[in-house]
Amino acid sequence: MKALSQKRRHPLAAIALLLMGLLITGGLYAVATTMNTAKASTTTASASDVEEGGKLFAANCATCHGMGASGSKDAPSLVGVGAAAVDFQVGTGRMPMQMNGPQAMKKPVQFNEQQTSQLAAYVASLGAGPAIPADDLTNGGGDAAAGGELFRTNCAMCHNAAAAGGALTQGKFAPALADVTGKHIYEAMVTGPQNMPVFNDANITPEGKKDIITFLKQIESSGSPGGADLGSLGPVAEGLFVWVAGLGVIIAFTIWLTSRTS
């Protein structure tokens, strides 16, 4: 310290100080902006991740999506879909697709978490797209009532008011949302997988998405206050129950009423 205090009057001290200040502000700024834009692409994608992801992609995905993910007649280009799309599609087992059908189905995942994040890093490196959301947006803790309102306006027509899912055209369907992780729900909203429309941050704010996830987790955990919900499918399930069980009981009683006692 003594050497430092002796040199502080050196003619070059001011320049050295200025350089130091610039470096610190610049460095802090760089860290802060990367934190903001790619709010933790979880395991901050390193060059090796991208490289590993590229190998995995070439081995598992390129058959349909083409080398360099430029797309083919069988599958879309993945340039610019972002890490969130990969994390959703691969993380829920929808990709790699097993066979062609009305839509890719959820199934046991084929890649572990590390491989998924490597694939995501590789696809994200091809072009800017939605990043994997930060944990604080997907863990609930938002306003469930506001989320419910957003859900009923934007989601309930396909996914059912109780998030039990529903049918679309020609074999396609909107899946039930129980047991889907908050992260995957968030990613589905920002990327619009398959026939689901995109709900970008300008449409539903990240805070609104957090509220929707909170709402979904809330109705999932609180159950149905009115007793058995019969799958929350509405009049079809309820009508079937009444026809089979209700009428069955009535018929049983009429038979008993008119039968002769021994």
Partner: protein, 356 residues
């Protein structure tokens, strides 16, 4: 079949007539021999049935007690949870069910097992006797005679007047069902107000939407600017004005002549009210560009100006012409060019008025 005034049953089929010809008189088989029940012969069985009935009544008592306990003992204070409400609901339901069912099944079992079960036959009495007919005519004549309505025309005429006027209040009451909606169904909040174009805003919070916010594949649920500020008739206005805003590749849109300017860079807005019976059509498939109505599966193709490609709807969804204002926000350049929603009697006339 001739005159039935003699009270003969009204045969209408040839089968019955043929039967009458073949068989002179139908032989009454009489009541089958009475069969005794177990409880009639065996006192132990009777005792057992008695205990069963008492048990059923006892179940009813228990059910009522369960109801009372659930109602009074379960506290639904401010700190109670949904689980408490669910428990109380279940117990109230179970209690009532057993209370009612116990009494009902008990009485039926009692009647079936223990009460006398002798078959009884009752002869049907003659349907119409000339004497009764005469008596009825006499009663009517007496009434007319005693009221003296024939002798007192003043009373008769004032009564007629009173009866004739009495339905008039009903007219006034039915009048209150109006006023006629006139062409309210043909106009929505999207019409420019004082020359100012209405902005497209998000449902439910009413914030305006920039064209740049709507990325390809997006679907926005839209209400007109100012809807949330309405104090009266807000839901009625919303029911007519709701719009779905979507963006697709401009190359896949095929606007017809005169409608080229109704979209903006592939952003199009269509009424959300189904033209079949008015359900909200909001199931948008962003890859096939189909809009599906959840009620009756009417399917509309966005790339063909929402033409109906499946289902019972008979008209395409009305398109809302949109543009971008100076600040980059989406605005409706006019109201819909046809009435939204399902058909109604004066719809064609209203559509002609809008476009003239």
């Amino acid at each position: 079949m001739g005159n039935h005034s003699d009270g003969s049953p009204n045969h209408s089929g040839t089968v019955a007539t043929a039967g009458q010809n073949e068989v002179e008189k139908f032989q009454d088989p009489g009541i089958p021999p009475h069969r005794l029940r177990l409880a009639d012969t065996d006192p132990r069985a009777a005792k057992r049935a008695e205990r069963q009935v008492a048990l059923l009544f006892g179940i009813s008592v228990v059910g009522t007690l369960i109801f009372l306990v659930a109602y009074f003992a379960i506290d639904l204070g401010n700190d109670s949870s949904i689980a408490t409400i669910r428990l109380q609901n279940a117990l109230l339901g179970i209690g009532t069910a057993f209370a009612m069912l116990g009494i009902g099944t008990g009485i039926v079992h009692w009647a079936k097992a223990l009460m006398p079960d002798h078959e009884v036959s009752e002869e049907r009495h003659a349907i119409r006797i000339e004497e009764d007919r005469q008596a009825a005519v006499r009663i009517v004549d007496d009434i007319l005679d005693e009221t003296g309505i024939k002798r007192r025309p003043l009373i008769r005429n004032t009564l007629l007047g009173a009866v004739a006027l009495a339905p008039l209040p009903a007219l006034a009451i039915f009048g209150d069902l109006g006023p006629r909606p006139d062409d309210k169904l043909a106009h929505t909040m999207w019409a420019p107000h004082d020359g100012k174009l209405k902005r497209l805003t998000r449902d439910p919070d009413g914030t305006p939407i920039k064209a740049s916010d709507v990325t390809i594949g997006s679907a926005f649920h839209v209400i007109p600017e100012g809807l949330n500020e309405l104090t009266e008739g807000k839901l009625n206005e919303k029911a007519k004005a709701v719009v779905l805003l979507m963006r697709l590749d401009p190359a896949s849109l095929n606007p017809s002549k005169g409608r080229e300017e109704w979209g903006y860079n592939g952003i199009v807005a269509y009424s959300k009210i189904c033209t079949h019976v008015g359900c909200p059509v909001a199931l948008y498939e962003q890859q096939t560009h189909h809009l599906l109505c959840p009620c009756h599966q009417s399917t509309f193709d966005l790339t063909q100006e929402c033409k109906v490609i499946f289902g019972p709807a008979s008209r395409p969804l009305p398109q809302l012409p949109i543009a971008v204002d100076d600040e980059g926000y989406l605005v409706a350049t006019s109201d819909f060019h046809e009435p939204v929603g399902p058909s109604y009697w004066e719809r064609d006339e209203h559509e002609r008025n809008i476009n003239s």
